[in-house]
């Protein structure tokens, strides 16, 4: 268990590192090879331990999808652990037969689903997933389908890839999918490289997508867990979809639920043929290795795989210009939040470097946002307690800024989480104050230097992280974006950024009609009398009263409040006190009621 879960959290840390650290001050001495079938291979020698970190990055992510198959890249990442013709089955012949029958049944079921979709549009049914809503024919087929799934399950050797690696000293076996790329990785003892070549070339050559239909349910559960059951997951998905109007960043990596249920095996096969062809892959090996020796082994195993019949198509839809400010106002059971996103530039654009530096000026514990919102105004939290959408979230920065330079477009994202009672509009106004100052005045030299120092050290630390793992992610990210040498060149460009550059990009990109604003109000709060929200102290008092569990103590407090009430002269204060008393009395009633139960 720990073997799989720890790495999962770790990937998130690593991805965050790699995403926020644009550049590397250290030079990575990578050796590059190209196989006959177009596959790129990068190797870096690190002789600290007798291990090799190995990975394969596919230059495909959710940005390569089109409506109808959104989420397929991520589904694929799961399918790649299901085995091959050799791995993962006790009887490949029977296995393939069962899969074929399942597929033909799915064709019939899809026809019924089409009817159901039509019924949904006409208002004859309310929810396609409701068992009652299914057509009689669908239910008939489903019985046979489910019995075949059970039969398939008997033929499967679960997690055989995991087992083969683990017993040979494999560590960190895992994978991830983002908008721009998909990566698979593991660490192995250096004498087990042939096992790696065998298993990986096998699964990148002839994967068998077992449990294709039930895995879609697993992914749907994953969506439920990571997006739908978090307080702000769906709102953030909504916001991101609002921000990205035409680009394929419009949908999340997890895809739209209706697409996820409809993806066919034919679609999956064609997707694999296009995007997992060797000419779209980069293998990265970091560790105790000899590149010129090891490349022979890579060739022996991977040159078996033919080049893809067609090259992967380019992503042609550009993010179209925005013509006015966009705002999304929402409510959730969370602290008040404000997020402001501006359209900026893609990876490797010359302005991405000053934007990176600018994000450093604004974010962090000694940054402009923290000073304005936490120290000066006292309306934002100093650190984020709640788990974010990412696994293991929490403990992060509650006020932050980042330039997200993706492969096809970019965004500058500013976010602030308020203390309870703060209004999201207050956070928003505070953020604008910070931005306006940066637009009007050049950043002082030592502040600029501080950020450059931090960027430099962050990148050094990330590279040195976990001996090899850090380098692997850096190279992988840049290689998958299109140019691994950017890992070495980016930092030099960061160091050249001037205060004038920073001021220029702040003026160029942070225009009012270009911004997207997300404001999240606290749900419980708004019910309790949100109008008073402009006074954080009052809201804190409300929060405190509501968190009290002991009726006796609450009663005592109400008594004290009532006595104080007569002494208060300011009518505004008095009104607030009365309101608080009312809330306290209501809460007391609730407490007593639950106690009597």
């Amino acid at each position: 268990m720990e073997r799989r879960i720890l790495p999962a959290v770790f990937i998130c840390v690593m991805m965050t590192f790699a995403a926020t650290v644009p550049a590397v001050a250290q030079t990575i001495d990578a050796k590059e090879f190209k196989l006959d079938n177009g596959m790129q291979v990068l190797m870096v020698e690190r002789h600290d331990a007798p291990t090799v970190m190995a990975s394969i990055f596919a230059r495909v992510g959710s940005a390569n999808e089109v409506p109808g198959i959104t989420g397929i890249s991520h589904l694929f990442e799961h399918m790649m652990f299901k085995g091959t013709e050799t791995i993962g089955t006790t009887d490949i012949k029977r296995d393939l037969e069962v899969m074929a029958r399942l597929d033909s049944l799915r064709v019939l079921m899809r026809a019924e689903e089409r009817t159901m979709r039509e019924e949904l549009r006409r208002g004859q049914i309310k929810d396609m997933l409701d068992p009652e809503a299914k057509t009689p024919r669908y239910r008939e087929i489903e019985v046979v389908f489910d019995s075949l799934i059970l039969e398939e399950r008997k033929l499967i050797i679960k997690d055989q890839l995991d087992e083969l690696y683990t017993k040979n000293g494999g560590y960190f076996l895992n994978a991830f999918t983002s908008q721009d790329m998909t990566g698979y990785f593991i660490r192995l003892p250096k004498n087990k490289m042939e096992l790696y070549m065998w298993l990986e070339s096998d699964r990148f050559n002839h994967p068998v997508f077992r449990e294709f239909y039930s895995e879609r349910d697993v992914v749907r559960e994953e969506r439920r867990l990571s997006l739908e059951s978090t307080p702000t997951g769906l709102i953030e998905e909504d916001f991101s979809a609002m921000f990205w109007k035409s680009s394929s960043y419009h949908w999340e990596v997890l895809g739209w639920p209706s697409d996820l249920g409809s993806i066919t095996r034919e679609q999956a096969d064609s997707y694999f043929g296009t995007y997992y062809a060797p000419n779209n892959l980069t293998m990265i090996l970091v560790g105790d290795l000899n590149p010129d020796e090891l490349i022979k082994m890579v060739k022996k195993y991977f040159e078996r795989i033919p080049r893809g019949k067609t090259s992967p198509p380019d992503v042609v839809t550009l993010e179209e210009k925005q013509y006015g400010e966009k705002r999304l106002i929402a409510e959730a059971e969370t602290s008040p939040k404000a997020e402001i996103w501006y359209h900026t530039v893609a990876w490797k654009h010359p302005d991405s470097y000053p934007l990176d530096v600018l994000s450093g000026i604004m974010g962090g514990k000694t940054g402009r946002l923290y000073k304005k919102l936490v120290e000066e105004k006292g309306i934002a939290k100093s650190s984020s307690g709640g788990g974010g959408r990412m696994m293991g979230g929490g403990g992060g920065q509650a006020v932050d800024a980042a330039q997200d330079s993706r492969k096809y477009a970019g965004a500058f994202q500013v976010s602030a989480e308020g203390i309870s009672g703060a209004k999201p509009e207050q956070l928003e106004a505070g953020i604008y104050e910070v931005i306006e100052d940066l637009q009007k005045n050049p950043v002082p030299e030592d502040e600029l230097q501080k950020v450059k120092n931090q960027l430099r050290v962050q990148s050094i630390r990330a590279i040195d992280f976990m001996s090899g793992m850090g380098i692997l992610f850096f190279l992988g990210q840049n290689a998958a974006m299109g140019d691994w040498t950017e890992a070495n060149n980016g930092p030099k460009k960061n160091d050249l950024v001037t205060a004038a550059d920073v001021q220029r990009v702040a003026n160029e990109y942070f225009a009012k009609n270009q911004r997207n604003v997300l404001l999240i109000n606290t749900k419980a709060e708004s019910a309790a009398g949100g109008e008073q929200g402009e006074d954080p102290q009052f809201a804190q008092a409300v929060q405190m009263v509501k968190s009290m569990k002991d009726p006796a103590r609450l009663e005592q407090m109400i008594g004290m409040f009532s006595m104080q009430l007569d002494k208060v002269e300011d009518p505004k204060d008095k009104a607030q006190m009365e309101k608080l008393l009312k809330i306290a009395n209501e809460h007391l009633k609730e407490l007593k009621a639950t106690k009597d139960k």
């Binding site: 074929a100 995991d162 095996r265 931090q454 630390r461 569990k549």
Partner: protein, 502 residues
Amino acid sequence: MIRQYRLLFRRSMTLALIAAFAIVLTSNSGILADKIVDHPDKLKYEELKYQPPKPDGYRHTLKCGVTAYVVENPVVPTFELTISIRTGSMYEPVEKAGLADMTGYLMRNGGVQGMTTKQLDERLAYLAGEISVNIGDSRGRASLFCLSKDVDEGLGLLKKILHSPVFDQEALTRYRGDVLSEMEQRNSSASAIESREWQFLMYGDYPSTIPYRRTEQSINSITRDDLIAFHQKYFFPKNFILAVSGDFKTAEILTKLDNLLSDWPEQQLTLPALSDQIPSPKPGVYMIKKEDVNQSRIRVGHAGVKRDIPDQYALMVMNDILGGGGFNSRIMRRVRSDEGLAYNAGSMFDRPVLYPGTFQAWFQTKHATAAFGTRLIVDEIKRIRTEKCDAEIVENSKASFISDVVNPFASKNSIVNTFADDEYTHRPDDYWQNYTKNMKAITPDDVLAVAQKYLHPDQLVFLVIGDPEAVQKGSDKHNERFSDFGQITIIPLRDPKTLQIK
């Protein structure tokens, strides 16, 4: 595309025949050696002779008598220092539970002589450096990270923090408020309740439970003078062990470390010894009432052993097979893969260095299937005591442990930290040298023997966090009930601020 699969399959039949011929035809020509085998289990590997580094090569004694493990790492222009401090919240008085944690936090965040916390933060941010001080259950840790060019300034700041923190009263009040407001949420997480109640159940009032015994009263009773006294008692060089890595020359860095630890009064400290007996409870079922959750958390176990027992290797393998080895372990297979009862299930021997740990197996499931899942786990515990494991399973487990031996030495920095940890926990110097040999020697008989020696199905304690009514009702599909496992005691939730049972 499924057509293609079937096609591929048919073709591979033909191919197999052709391949068979090819082998016969070419087996004398040497091509066979370069052929790709048809299953990865047939691959042959060069033997990997890995000998972990020895501590002697890194160990230095500073002028003040303190041990420092030092390694040069010219690849990156950085400096990293970790100091282990013999202290811990286990040693704080229970009526001031929370004192150790607060001392650590406020050493770093309560100002130092001549500098406010804000000034310190700003300076560190400019240097892109980091300093932290944390005091855990049985150890304190202070660390510094900076660029190697800034090492003098970094060490200077660290010295101020370690030597002369001022414990600003305002910062103390603020942190106390944070701790108390967090305390209100004490019962919101079922997993936190589970860990806490397991400690109380297994250890009674043993000192290891002190970190779990913070109350509103104990936090409020901590004064600035307490922090000063705690700091004075534990933070002196003789009580430190250092681990240092970075881009420097060893001789130069040793001088700098001597300076870091100079001008400190001579002091002595004897930590109280701990009893080898832990007051485990009467075997039986203990249910903690947490009704607002739709899932029960179950932990099953009994008193265990310390880390350094001679049987540790066989015990590791045994537990790996039972429930420690993730997807391939028995408990995970039965509870998750076969029955689909839980996402997470497993077992461990928690083996502290200083006092006996516990054996525990766990899973989380809906209330109705809690008893059924528990039965599966108990059966696995019994089975590993009666049936000898297959040699192949034992070999696989050993192989993964043996290959993990590189982990503590995966980077320069982890080498010195491993040795500093080993010294802190009094591990013998040759531990890692003999690790592979000791692991290799384990046989299925050894695994069976430790299962019989260290697993005690008759002494099991069952801790259930959930809705007792729903849990006891069980499910129509299964006959198992918790009363099968022993007498049931139902315990209400503790008050989050006093820890009193209401």
